[in-house]
């Protein structure tokens, strides 16, 4: 235990270990727990309204454009992998790679929002509106709030990217990249669930 002897002195002033994870990461996870409940409220209401209803709702493909959304889902998955690659690059000190991957994430994320706007436009054009019964109401509320989260994510990632280009992150300190990454993967995760329960079931 030679290493331990060296740590005794510094622990004299160190806070309790807590989770052994730095504050920002804990904070983001705690916030994501809260987000889980927000989406539970929205998706749960959809499940209850749909499976509690006596009438049958439209089957996949009848109203919604599944192929376009499948491509969009693929986009979001790609942005998730570029995000994690940015973090991995930062871990090994490849700051150039980190910046490029961050930029790619922001761009692909913006692409997702763009496709969603296109999809909305198409649907509204065909007369499918939030006021089109419970199907329209739940669809637009869930995907709309997810889209809002994506938009916020894109803005934050753009901000992090800008900071990265100004040299704000190093191999030792890139908490911001990891924390925004957590948020971004969470948004991706929510989309995985949404895509399945809204578009495919």
């Amino acid at each position: 235990m030679t290493s331990h002897a060296a740590t005794v002195d510094s622990t004299a002033q160190r806070p309790e270990r807590g989770l052994g994870v730095y504050d920002k990461k804990v904070g983001m996870w705690v916030f994501l727990c809260s987000e889980v409940m927000f989406f539970t409220g929205l998706i749960g209401s959809y499940i209850i309204l749909r499976f509690g209803a006596s009438d049958v709702w439209p089957m996949p493909g009848e109203v919604l454009n599944v192929p376009v959304t499948a491509v969009n889902t693929f986009l979001l998955i790609c942005s998730s992998v570029t995000m994690v690659k940015a973090f991995a690059a930062a871990e090994v000190g490849d700051l150039k790679g980190m910046r490029l991957y961050l930029l790619a994430t922001a761009v692909i994320g913006a692409g997702f929002v763009g496709v969603q706007v296109f999809e909305y436009n198409q649907l509204i054009h065909h007369g499918f509106l939030p006021s089109s019964g419970l199907y329209g109401a739940t669809f637009f509320t869930m995907t709309g709030f997810h889209g809002l989260h994506v938009t916020v994510g894109v803005i934050c990632i753009a901000w992090v990217t800008a900071k990265a280009y100004r040299g704000g992150y190093t191999q030792e300190d890139h908490e911001g990249v990891e924390v925004i990454g957590l948020y971004w993967h969470f948004v991706d995760l929510v989309w995985i669930i949404l895509f399945t329960v809204v578009y495919l079931i």
Partner: protein, 103 residues
């Protein structure tokens, strides 16, 4: 003191594992993409309703877990954090299941 030592060992192990994990991000990405394609296929192939729903939900959970464990590296986080993250799933499930019981 023992705990401190054990933790240091564990940290080293995690660090080593993380390095090994990095190349696999692309494999996970490929898995996610393939699963998405299969999902779309299942939805349109016209299996019976219950088979479709179960298969789709299964794949969605699989994908979600892949994202949570690898992209969000929950796999390498302390157990306490993992428990904390899983905690909201209990009230979430309760809310939906109990209200569904009504119908």
């Amino acid at each position: 003191m023992l705990a401190g030592g054990a933790e240091a060992v564990a940290e080293a192990a995690v660090a080593a594992e993380t390095e090994h994990q990095q190349p696999r991000y692309m494999a996970i990405w490929a898995t996610l993409a393939v699963l998405t394609a299969i999902e779309v296929g299942v939805a349109f192939l016209g299996f019976s309703r219950s088979v479709t729903v179960l298969a789709l939900l299964g794949m969605a959970v699989w994908k979600a877990l892949l994202v949570a464990f690898y992209f969000m590296h929950l796999k390498y986080e302390p157990k306490a954090l993992r428990i904390m993250v899983a905690a909201p799933l209990i009230p979430a499930a309760l809310l939906v299941l109990v209200v569904l019981l009504e119908y």
